[in-house]
Amino acid sequence: MSEFKPRILAFYCANCASSAANVSESMSLGVPAGVKMVQVPCTGRIETLHLLKPFEEGADGVYVAGCQEDSCRYMSGILKAEKRVAQVKRILEELDIEPGRIETFKLSAGKGFRFAEIASEMMKRVQELGPISGG
């Protein structure tokens, strides 16, 4: 495959989304089209199954974007997400899939521009990993 266009599923919290959209509008930053986004009220809402499902449906990567621990309005949401992402990393490893295909990102309040950066970062990472071969 000469041109691999990764498809990535991103779960992001509503808090990040609002500040990110504001900032990206004023800085004209976009999220790459290959990143498909699912908004959740808090990343603590996400379960392991929700993170595995995208891989089953053909995603090349998955990430969770939430607030930093100290600015999460729900206090510990991102920590729970991080725990689950770690669990999924282990499951992926067992299936011979690179654990780097799933990641957690933390944004601090007022740093909305990171939102678009993260999407591109993850895109680049999965691009380098190539399509999923194991499993």
Binding site: R7, L9, S18, S19, A20, A21, N22, S24, E25, S26, L29, G30, V31, P32, A33, G34, K36, M37, V38, V40, P41, C42, G44, R45, I46, E47, L49, H50, K53, P54, E56, E57, G58, A59, D70, S71, R73, Y74, M75, S76, G77, K80, A109, G110, A116
Partner: protein, 914 residues
């Protein structure tokens, strides 16, 4: 106290943004409002503008106009003028004329929001307007730029229809000059709108050269300096100059601008088109009316207000807001409109035209397949094809029964279409759908549906390469999510009629008083041991009113107001709950109290940046400006011993660390310089500045300072003044003089550093109340836009320096405005909660207590009567953590269900639908 106030309706004169905002606020507070507009439509100046900086909110006008027209408590009188106002506060008789018909209206108060006009440059030789075809006013230029305008947004030269490649803007047309036709004041908004017009020109065609000829670039508001920097990055060119004449080439109709550059040398440059940035004038009709009524008028011909009461005219019961009281921008007009509501409420009890209507109780959607209405709203300037593409795509999606392009009255159009198509769910796409959230909920209620059965599509932040794919992804996902929605339970929760004000400076005290005088108990919390904040070193307002006398009066009014509980030495420790019912833990030196309150006003202030440069802290001759002000209050004689005083502007401002302009420092320096000169004319006073930002009527101080012999020297940011210890024991200030083109050395006895005002102290409180801060630490306004007093969290409002640096009088207006917004909320008996909430299915609950341990807010508890855990929807914050953790899957969240989260990947990754 309420019983003593007369009851009455209110007449608002002027249907621009200020009048509209005030009418809506008054109606919300229970008043019947006559909204009188002399033209044929509401909107005033705003419909003629093309986009608004720094964030466009043009789309916010339409829904407001519609809301005014439908509000049973607002009678809109178009094509109507006010001919006379007689009577007194509480009992005015207003004569209005509509065509040939005269009518007398009985009202308790009058609010003049008659707005402004733009300066007409016709007949002024040097501007050549009307003489040269390609010279336009900025208002005409924005009309041309509008995609819905006569030229569909394509800018052409009037002379030959050719698109201009090189456009010049001339600033201060009809402002900052004391010639025959000009006004002496600065019109305050023109620098920003010229930048906006240039940037919008670049947006249409990056290749067009845009040049702005200006004297001082006045980007003094929230986000303005950042906008200026972005404009410079985009290649907008700024030329500091004085324009002499505009000459026209007879054949080509090209224009040549003859101008003096900063060194005073005459230069010439060719342009295809020249835009005159025309200044503002108060509405002449309103000023004439004011004259007939003997209302106070300022020397600049604006309506005068009382000291420290920026909304009160010289006649009790008659109030003023917006552009007729000074050159204002939109944000400031909206703030003042709210503040005017608070002022009116203080003296007049509301008398409505009719009681508020009630919506039908929501029915539950019919069982079976979901029926979705896909509605969308395009901002002016958005690609029509975008809408058509979206509509077509949505029509092909499962569950979509109809589509609608909303244009104008959103609530009515959507609710009617829902009924027409028999839809039971809504998907709505727009740029920034969060700003339409309330309207969507209203529309669903009006259609008899649960207000939470809606999903939204944000049209922003699309990647330029994959916009179509992304848009389709988002529409598909929203439609799928809507299909997964089940109506959440709704519950009415009583509003706690108590307010919390955090911050005991001028803004906090003013807010607290405005709330208390309406009969609501207020807790005023201050972290320091005494009230006053920066008010303690407020020597004088810009127009010379005594700051300390005001502060003493304010402190005693707060002390006498029995409804205000002052808690000094107290910090906020914890906050939870929601608008209508917050619970806050306060910590007074280790002693904790818990307070329940319906609303919160954050007036936590800001701090001057403490510099390391300019010998600050190491030389006794170098003062921070707040210290100098304090010194002038407590020990003025010591200051007047100085023979030479130097003010250095923009210390730590407008640079990498703090990119914003701190707004009031230029005025502070000039005011202080004028006062020093008045008392000791022989004192040498220098002001070293970058741009002199004495905006609005403050310009007259700048003129006075120059007349009094204050010396102004402009410096470049890459060649800042140097301050060194002098052998004489004082300090030596060296600055490059651009007109002499050489450095000059000033031996100074006193140096005042006007340092940046920063919001770094707001972090803690912002996190506690979950509100957003901008990069500089100032509170961010609601994403709903055009709500400058609302934070990002409902029921939490802002006032004073915490929002952005501003002078005391503007802070007072903002404080009263924030109080008015809070009063609207407190006036409600209950708020409806529901929507994004977790719900326990009792039958499935194994009473394992996982949810009890998981919840960050300790909401779930084991309810013995149910034999299961219970989550109070009024307290649930909606994070969904318990839903994820519950081992028995006994907790559900209808707005973010498992089905949706499991189904999302297949919806989004399904290429067959893309």
């Amino acid at each position: 106290m309420n019983q003593e106030k007369p009851r009455g309706k209110v007449l608002v004169l002027g249907g621009g943004i200020a009048g509209i905002e005030a009418a809506m606020g008054l109606s919300e507070a229970g008043y019947g409002v006559y909204l009188v507009e002399r033209s044929a439509a509401l909107g005033g100046m705003m419909p003629s503008l093309h986009r608004i900086y720094p964030l466009c909110s043009c789309c916010k006008l339409e829904p407001r106009v519609a809301a005014c027209e439908q509000d049973p408590n607002i009678q809109v009188l178009l094509n109507t003028t006010v001919t006379s106002i007689t009577g007194e506060a509480g009992r005015f008789q207003v004569m209005v004329k509509q065509g040939t018909e005269d009518t007398a209206l009985e009202v308790g108060a009058v609010l003049i929001a008659a707005g402004m006009e733009t300066f007409d440059p016709s007949g002024v030789d040097s501007y050549a307007y009307g003489k040269h075809a390609n010279v336009l006013t900025s208002v005409e230029y924005e009309q041309i730029q509008k995609p819905t305008g006569p030229q569909s947004g394509r800018v052409k030269r009037p002379s030959d229809g050719r698109p201009p490649r090189k456009i010049a803007w001339l600033q201060c047309v009809g402002s900052r000059d004391i010639n025959l036709c000009d006004a002496p004041y600065c019109s305050s908004v023109c620098c920003m709108y010229a930048l906006k017009e240039a940037v919008n020109t670049k947006d249409m065609d990056e290749e067009v050269e845009t040049t702005i000829f200006y004297m001082d670039m006045r980007a003094h508001g929230k986000g303005f300096e950042e906008y200026l920097n972005r404009a410079l990055d985009r290649g907008v060119r700024l030329v500091r100059s004085r324009v002499h004449t505009i000459e026209e080439d007879q054949d080509t109709k090209d224009l040549e601008i003859v101008f003096a550059d900063e060194a005073g040398e005459l230069q010439r440059e060719q342009f295809d088109m020249v835009v005159l940035s025309v200044g503002l004038r108060p509405s002449q009709e309103a000023v004439d009316l004011a004259r007939r009524m003997d209302l106070g008028i300022t020397e600049e011909q604006y309506l005068a207000t009382l000291p420290f009461s920026p909304l009160c005219t010289t006649i009790p019961g008659i109030y003023v807001c917006g552009g007729v009281k000074g050159p204002n921008d939109i944000g400031q007009s909206v703030v003042e409109a709210s503040a005017a509501v608070a002022e009116i409420a203080a003296t007049l009890a509301p008398e409505p035209f009719s009681e508020a209507p009630s919506a039908p109780a929501p029915s539950s959607p019919s069982a079976g397949e979901p029926a979705i209405l896909f509605a969308y709203h395009l901002c002016e300037g958005m690609d029509q094809d975008l809408g058509d593409g979206m509509k077509q795509y949505a029509e092909g999606l499962p569950g979509v029964v109809g589509t609608l392009r909303v244009d104008g009255d959103m609530v009515k159009q959507i609710s009617e279409k829902i009924k027409e198509y028999g839809a039971d769910r809504l998907v709505f796409a727009s740029c920034t759908p969060v700003i339409h959230k309330n309207l969507l909920e209203q529309a669903l209620r009006a259609a008899g549906l649960n207000p939470y059965l809606a999903e939204t599509v944000d049209l922003r932040a699309l990647s330029p390469e994959g916009a179509t794919v992304q848009l389709q992804d988002r529409v598909r996902m929203a439609v799928a999510r809507a299909a997964f929605l089940s109506p959440p339970a709704l519950k009415d929760v009583p509003v706690v009629k108590h307010a919390l004000v955090v911050g005991g400076g001028i803004s906090g005290m003013e807010s607290a008083l405005a709330l208390a005088r309406e009969g609501y108990p207020v807790t005023l919390v201050e972290s320091e041991e005494q009230l006053g904040g920066h008010g303690r070193h407020l020597r004088t307002t810009w127009d010379g009113h005594d700051g300390q006398a005001y502060l003493q009066d304010l402190l005693s009014r707060v002390k006498e107001e029995e409804r205000i509980t002052v808690m000094t030495g107290t910090r906020v420790k914890e906050n939870r709950g929601f608008a209508g019912s917050f619970v806050t833990t306060l910590d007074s030196g280790g002693r904790e109290t818990t307070l329940t309150h319906g609303v919160t006003i954050l007036a936590t202030g800001a701090q001057p940046y403490k510099p390391e440069e300019y010998l600050y802290g190491s030389s006794e001759h170098v003062y921070l400006w707040s210290e100098l002000s304090e010194k002038l209050i407590r020990d003025p004689a010591a200051v007047y011993e100085a023979d030479t005083t130097v003010f250095i502007q923009c210390v730590g401002s407008r640079g990498d660390a703090h990119p914003h302009c701190s707004n009031l420092c230029c005025t502070f320096a000039v005011r202080t310089a004028v006062d020093l000169k008045a008392k000791k004319p022989e004192m040498n006073v220098y002001i070293l500045y970058r741009d002199m930002r004495t905006f609005g009527e403050r310009e007259k101080l700048y003129r006075e300072a120059r007349q009094k012999g204050v010396i102004f020297i402009r410096y470049e940011p890459d060649n800042r003044p140097q301050v060194e210890a002098s052998k004489k024991g004082t300090v030596k200030v060296t600055v490059y003089e651009p007109i002499l083109r050489k450095p000059v050395v000033i031996e100074a006895d006193l140096v005042s550093l006007q340092t940046a005002i920063v919001g770094t102290g707001n972090r803690e409180v912002a996190d506690l109340f979950r509100v957003d801060l901008d990069q500089q630490g100032f509170l961010v306004e609601s994403p709903e836009k055009l709500k400058p007093l609302d934070t990002t969290i409902q029921g939490v409002f802002m006032a004073g320096l915490a929002a952005f640096p501003k002078d005391s009088v503007e802070s007072i207006a903002q404080a009263r405005g924030a109080a008015a917004r809070a009063l609207e909320f407190l006036a409600k008996d209950s708020v409806q909660v529901g929507g994004l909430k977790a719900e326990v299915i009792s039958e499935k609950c194994a009473v394992c207590c996982t949810c009890v341990r998981t919840c960050p807010f300790q909401v779930p508890f084991i309810d013995g009567s149910r034999g299961a855990a219970f989550i109070d929807p009024a307290l649930c914050q909606g994070c969904g953590m318990c839903v994820a953790e519950c081992p028995g899957k006994a907790i559900v969240m209808s707005m973010c269900s498992d089905d949706m989260l499991k189904g999302a990947p297949s919806v989004l990754l399904d290429t067959s639908l893309a």
